[in-house]
Structures are given as structure tokens and as C-alpha cells.
């Protein structure tokens, strides 16, 4: 039982390391199957036969997709989605109170913090995934800056740097979120067959791949779902 648990952890790490190296899903499936084949023959534990998952993934030197591909396909849409979500929340609060959207420089700086962290994600992605304290630290900074931005909201027009009608921004940001989610859904539906982890013999998708597919669809619609929840909350407290 312990051996199975240890091996499952090892295989999870192997998949993550190969994904980080942008290795294609079919090559990952091939690697997992051949690794399991040898473990079945020898009765060894994965770590014993293949060493640390990270080292083994590096030693295989499997062909990888160009690194900038995921930045174009995933990072920039996420960044735009986050911007639209933040803007939607700011505009929504003002709109539900029938007030103009007031903006101060401090508030803008605080709202820009998570956007900047996300924009520079490719520079620290490895540390973000491998070191839990980096992940917790950056998430905490982003949440804190979001909360502080609420306190930095100007209370009167005199304090505000900008005073604008919230409705066009509310509608515009909502449309951007829906458009991005639709685009991501279409893109992931087309790319699923290409990059899923597949068994080399049967051609079937890995079970975790099917679970991951559902998570991908939820993630695609995360910002609109959260925006509707925030709108519901704001309307109920009006």
C-alpha cells in the first residue's frame, strides 16, 4: 500500500516535470507505460529503479514544444481575464451604489500587483510550482493587495484621480470575460485530443486526464462564475 502511494506520488511528480518541460501528452503516456512495464517486471519501487522523478524527466531529454507557446495560449488570455475581472468588480460596486467609478493612483497600483505577478509568471514558474512557500507567498500578496485596494478606494470625487461612469466598464469587462472563456473553451476542446496523456497501446486517455478535462472547463469559466457570484453578493447587500 505504502509502495503504491509512494509510486503514485513519484508518477505524479514525473508527469508534472514532463509537463513543465512542455513534453507532448503522447510522449508522457509512452514514458509512463514503459516505466510501469519495467516496475512490473522487476518488482522495484519507482524511485529505486529510476531515481528521483525530476532527474529522470531531465535525463530522458524528450522533445518539447516551444516554451513561448503556453505564454501565448494560456498566460496572455489569463492576464486579460484577470484585468477584466478586477475592472468588473470595481465598476460593479460603483454601479450597484449608483455612484461614479472613482479611482486613485494607490488603488490602481494595488490592483496592478496581481496582474504584474501573473505577467512575470514565466520567470518564476518552476519555483512557484515546486516550492510551496513561494506559491503561498505570492498568492497571499495578491489577495492582500486586492483587499487593500478596497481601502484605497476614494470616498469622494475630490480624492479621486478619475471619476467615470461605471456601466460601460461593467458591460465591457463582462463581455471580455465571456469572450475569453468562450475562446478558451473552444481552444481546449480542439487541443484535448492532441495533448492528452494517452496509453500507447490502447490509445485511451489517462483517468487523471479526464478529471483534468473537467477542471480545465471550470477554469475556463472561472472569472465569469466569480463575477456572477460577486454581482449576486453586491446586489443582495444593496
Amino acid at each position: 500500500m505504502t509502495q503504491q502511494t509512494n509510486d503514485k506520488k513519484w508518477f505524479d511528480q514525473l508527469v508534472m516535470e514532463l509537463r513543465l518541460r512542455q513534453v507532448h501528452g503522447s510522449a508522457i503516456g509512452d514514458t509512463i507505460a514503459s516505466t510501469r512495464e519495467l516496475l512490473g517486471d522487476t518488482g522495484q519501487r519507482a524511485e529505486e529503479a529510476f531515481g528521483p522523478a525530476r532527474d529522470y524527466a531531465a535525463a530522458l531529454e524528450l522533445p518539447s514544444e516551444p516554451k513561448h507557446d503556453w505564454v501565448r495560449k494560456a498566460l496572455w488570455p489569463s492576464l486579460l481575464g484577470l484585468l477584466a475581472f478586477l475592472l468588473f468588480n470595481q465598476a460593479m460596486v460603483s454601479w450597484t451604489r449608483s455612484e461614479p467609478l472613482l479611482v486613485s493612483p494607490a488603488q490602481l497600483a494595488l490592483l496592478a500587483t496581481p496582474v504584474v505577478f501573473l505577467a512575470f509568471l514565466p520567470l518564476y514558474l518552476d519555483a512557484f510550482i515546486r516550492r510551496i512557500w513561494v506559491c503561498i507567498g505570492i498568492t497571499a500578496i495578491c489577495v492582500l493587495s486586492g483587499l487593500l485596494s478596497a481601502f484605497a478606494t476614494p470616498s469622494s470625487r475630490a480624492e479621486a484621480w478619475l471619476a467615470i461612469d461605471p456601466l460601460p466598464w461593467l458591460i465591457g469587462s463582462a463581455l471580455v470575460m465571456v469572450a475569453l472563456s468562450t475562446m478558451n473553451t473552444i481552444r481546449s476542446a480542439h487541443s484535448e485530443d492532441d495533448n492528452d496523456i494517452t496509453d500507447p497501446l490502447s490509445g485511451t486517455t489517462d483517468i487523471t486526464g479526464r478529471g483534468a478535462r473537467a477542471i480545465v472547463q471550470i477554469t475556463n469559466w472561472l472569472f465569469p462564475i466569480l463575477a456572477i457570484a460577486m454581482l449576486g453578493l453586491a446586489l443582495s447587500f444593496r
Binding site: 514503459s34 516505466t35 512490473g40 517486471d41 529503479a49 529510476f50 531515481g51 535525463a59 500507447p200 497501446l201
Partner: protein, 128 residues
């Protein structure tokens, strides 16, 4: 290829310096495939049977993957008899040529080294 299971391996065979195995494992693995397509465990058993010690999967598979990329071997998945599928590795013509070349080079190197290390020759060169 069947997994060899008869003759005992030579004494001390697992004690080769790791540097020696690192340098030679490439063409030894090609040699293990020269009789026909084979899979990971059978290759490891073949090398162990011939006195090279137990090669780990973490050493063999990356090597074979590089050889596949270089066009020295091809791979094919075959369904197992009631068991899991097996990934078979087979030499290509390029791989066979590379094995011939490396084997010849190694033999020349081994003869040169043996000649140089010959104790009688050492005695002649260094008079008491």
C-alpha cells in the same frame, strides 16, 4: 528476445567502476539488440547475465530514448500475453552500422590498453 536465466554471472561482475559502464553502456545496449527486438527488462537481464551488473531503468531508458531520437533504434508497443504491453526496441540499419563501428573502435582500444598494461612489458621498461 527471451530473458536469459541459466548461467550464473561472473564473479565480481557488478563491481565495475560506474565510469566504465557509463562509457560502454551505449554500445552494449546496441549489442543486446543485435539478435532482434527486445524490451527493457530483457535488455537489463541480458547485460546482467553477461556480467555487467544490474543496470537501472533510470540509466537504460534515457539512453534508448536518445538512440531513438538519433535514429539508431525504433520502438514498437506490443500487447503482452495476458500481462501489460511491452515496448520493444529494435536496431535500425544506422544503429547496426553504429554498433559495428563502435565495437571495432572498442576492440582496438581494449587491445591498446591491454598491451600498455601488460605486466611483462612494465618489467622490461622499468629495470629493477
Amino acid at each position: 528476445m527471451n530473458v536469459p536465466a541459466s548461467d550464473p554471472q561472473p564473479t565480481g561482475s557488478a563491481d565495475w567502476p560506474s565510469d566504465w559502464l557509463r562509457a560502454t553502456l551505449g554500445f552494449l545496449a546496441l549489442r543486446a539488440l543485435s539478435a532482434g527486438p527486445s524490451y527493457g527488462y530483457a535488455i537489463i537481464s541480458e547485460l546482467e547475465h553477461h556480467g555487467f551488473g544490474t543496470i537501472k531503468g533510470g540509466t537504460l531508458y534515457p539512453l534508448l530514448t536518445r538512440y531513438e531520437t538519433a535514429g539508431l533504434v525504433t520502438t514498437e508497443w506490443r500487447a503482452g500475453d495476458g500481462g501489460p504491453g511491452r515496448k520493444y526496441f529494435a536496431l535500425t540499419d544506422q544503429g547496426r552500422a553504429e554498433l559495428t563501428r563502435l565495437s571495432a573502435d572498442w576492440l582496438r582500444f581494449a587491445v591498446t590498453s591491454t598491451h600498455y598494461l601488460d605486466p611483462e612489458r612494465l618489467t622490461k621498461e622499468i629495470p629493477a
